[in-house]
Structure formats: structure tokens, C-alpha cells
């Protein structure tokens, strides 16, 4: 038994030239590694529970809506597996039902999903050595997954990269399951679901509240809120998102000199 394990281990080590891969393989062959995987999976699952609730419900809503426009299970699965972007998939139902042009669909996607550029920018460092699953983790970086991984902190004994990967995977599983269920049950829901989409607003409000509590300097949050409200008043509900993103970036860039020194203090504090 021991011999088999050793030979497997040395085989894995010899066949491996990439350091990151070696670390992942080594985990499989040690008891401590198995414990770490179990602990990481449990932690990822618990952390993903709020998203499970939100995604099952929002996915269900999406599936029901799509089915009501004549696109069944196959379409719900294809969209939730390949697009995997909540609000865009809701918009996508309209595009499909209205037979929109491909150009219009591309522009609409650019507008609604441009915020993902910002998520990516803030995750470049954290995902730098994320291992073989990195492409999937980038693909699966939704609003809610981002809200879970953006803190970047994990407890002792939890494999950070594996946690990021599993949270991404669990979340998409909930989303796919919810939309499939919605497409299947269609209009058979036993209750009036009007207003259920508020769960997305509630989720963002909770994340914002938690960020507010965790940060000493509330300037970024206030800039986000203020610029967005001004843009909403100026450009209206349908066109405010892009100006708001540009405006937020500009204002935060102008504030760089005043915000950065305070950050360093926070760093020193956190490091202590």
C-alpha cells in the first residue's frame, strides 16, 4: 500500500513540470491534503448558501420567464451554462422574444455587462496563481461570486484557490438548477411571484452593508452612490450605467492622492 502510494506520488512529481500543478497533485496523496480539501469544500459550501437561495430563486424566475416566451428547457440550460450572467439573461429573454438583431444584442451585452471589466481588474492579482481552473474561474465571475471572492480572506486550513474555484462552481450549479427547474415547472407556480426579483437588490444591499462595516474610509462607497444617482437623474434609467461607470472611475482617479495614504495606514493596521 505504502509502496503504491509512493510510486504514484513520485510518478506524479516526475510527470509534472509546473509548480502549481505539483502542489495540487500532492494534495491528493496525503491525508492532510484530503482533510484540507474537505474543509475547503465545506467552507465554500457554507459561504455559497446565501447565493444558493438567491440563484435558485432568480434562476427559477428566469426559467419561468423564458418558458413563457416559448423557449423551453434546452434554451434555459444553454443560456445558463454558456452566458451565466443573471441580469443579462433576463434582458436576453426580451431579445430572443423580440427577435433582436445580433448587433443590438452585442451592444446591449456590452452595456449591461461592462461592469465585469471592473470585477476582472480587481481580481487580476488575487487570481494570478489560481492554478489550472483559472479560465473557468474567470468565466464564472458573476456579481454574486465576485461578492464572495473579492474579500480574498480565508481561514487557516482552507486552500484559497480551491475555495475560489468551488464557490464559482457551486454558484453556477445553483443557477443552472434553478433555471432548469423554472423552465420545467413554467407557469405552474402555486403562488404569485411578483416582486421576487427584489432578492437581487437585497443581496447587493447586504454586500454593500458588509463592505461599509469592514472599511474605515467610506469615500469609495459614497462616490459610487453619488455618481450613480447623479447619472440616473441626468441620463435616465435606461442609459445611466455606462456614464456612471466612467464617472466613478474618473472621480476615484482624481481622489487617488487623498485616498491612497489612508489606505497605507489601513494596510499597516491590518498587517499588525
Amino acid at each position: 500500500m505504502y509502496g503504491t502510494r509512493t510510486s504514484l506520488w513520485s510518478k506524479a512529481r516526475n510527470s509534472c513540470r509546473v509548480p502549481g500543478r505539483c502542489a495540487i497533485m500532492r494534495l491528493h496523496f496525503t491525508q492532510k491534503g484530503v482533510q484540507k480539501i474537505v474543509k475547503t469544500a465545506k467552507y465554500a459550501f457554507v459561504r455559497s448558501l446565501p447565493v444558493m437561495a438567491g440563484y435558485l430563486v432568480l434562476g427559477l424566475g428566469f426559467g419561468v420567464l423564458l418558458q413563457s416566451k416559448g423557449y423551453g428547457l434546452g434554451w434555459a440550460l444553454a443560456m445558463s451554462l454558456l452566458i451565466y450572467a443573471g441580469s443579462m439573461q433576463y434582458v436576453g429573454v426580451d431579445l430572443l422574444a423580440g427577435g433582436a438583431s445580433l448587433i443590438a444584442a452585442a451592444l446591449m451585452t456590452l452595456t449591461v455587462n461592462a461592469r465585469h471589466l471592473f470585477y476582472g481588474i480587481s481580481m487580476v492579482e488575487r487570481y494570478r496563481n489560481a492554478g489550472p481552473a483559472k479560465p473557468y474561474m474567470i468565466f464564472a465571475l458573476t456579481d454574486e461570486t465576485y461578492s464572495l471572492v473579492c474579500s480574498g480572506e480565508v481561514p487557516d486550513g482552507v486552500d484559497r484557490n480551491r475555495y475560489f474555484f468551488l464557490v464559482s462552481l457551486f454558484n453556477q450549479a445553483y443557477w443552472v438548477a434553478g433555471s432548469a427547474a423554472g423552465a420545467l415547472v413554467g407557469g405552474l407556480l402555486p403562488f404569485d411571484s411578483t416582486g421576487i426579483d427584489f432578492s437581487m437588490t437585497a443581496l447587493f444591499l447586504v454586500v454593500m452593508t458588509e463592505q461599509w462595516r469592514a472599511s474605515r474610509d467610506h469615500t469609495p462607497a459614497l462616490v459610487g452612490l453619488g455618481v450613480s444617482l447623479v447619472c440616473l437623474l441626468v441620463f435616465g434609467a435606461d442609459g445611466f450605467l455606462i456614464p456612471a461607470m466612467v464617472g466613478i472611475t474618473l472621480v476615484l482617479t482624481l481622489l487617488r492622492g487623498t485616498l491612497q495614504p489612508r489606505e497605507k495606514e489601513e494596510d499597516a493596521h491590518a498587517g499588525h
Binding site: 446565501p50 416582486g195 437588490t201 458588509e210 462607497a221 455618481v227 444617482l229 450605467l241
Partner: protein, 111 residues
């Protein structure tokens, strides 16, 4: 009917492709061997809080203070979510209770 289905499939493909492009672009541009520019690191630090505030505004963009409900369902349910979260720090509870309250308000109180 098959023609419509092909167009729908093309629409799904375009939406998926643009979304993937947006998600990968930052990692392709800044993910090379070189260290990330300090400016980008700064943005990465301050943007998450600003974006989350923007997404809240995005979600509530349809609420009209001058409309028939005066945006009261959104205001009441949103306040409930924040207060519950500050009080109990239970994400699931805050979302479930806030959403239930909102549904009751739009279906029964302000219907």
C-alpha cells in the same frame, strides 16, 4: 420556426461571446508576467465598494418617487434589509425577509 430558432441560437452565442470577452479582457491585458500597474491596484482596492453602491442604484433604477407608490415598497424593504443585516449579520435572513416584505408590499399593500 427553424429559422427563428437559428436566430435565437445566434443571439445566445453573441451574448455569451461578448460576456466572455468582457470577463477575460482584464486578465489578458494585465495578467502577464509584469507586475500590475500601481494605478490598477489602486482601482482594484477602491472600486468594489463603489461598484456595489452602483449596482444597488441599478437595481432600484425603476423606483419612481413621483409614481403611484412613491417608491415606498423599495424604500421600506431596502431599509429593512440593511437594518436586519446590521442587527443579526445573517445574509440569508436579511435577503429572505426583505424580499418577502417587498412581495407583500407590492402584492397587497400597494397593489
Amino acid at each position: 420556426m427553424p429559422a427563428i430558432d437559428l436566430h435565437a441560437a445566434a443571439l445566445v452565442a453573441v451574448i455569451a461571446a461578448v460576456t466572455i470577452l468582457l470577463r477575460f479582457a482584464p486578465f489578458v491585458v494585465f495578467g502577464g508576467g509584469r507586475p500590475t500597474p500601481r494605478y490598477i491596484l489602486y482601482l482594484a482596492r477602491v472600486l468594489p465598494c463603489a461598484i456595489m453602491a452602483m449596482l444597488v442604484v441599478y437595481c432600484l433604477r425603476g423606483a419612481d418617487p413621483l409614481g403611484p407608490t412613491h417608491a415606498l415598497p423599495e424604500l421600506l424593504a431596502g431599509t429593512a434589509v440593511v437594518l436586519l443585516q446590521l442587527w443579526r449579520k445573517n445574509t440569508l435572513l436579511s435577503i429572505a425577509a426583505g424580499t418577502a416584505l417587498y412581495m407583500v408590499l407590492v402584492q397587497m399593500v400597494f397593489a
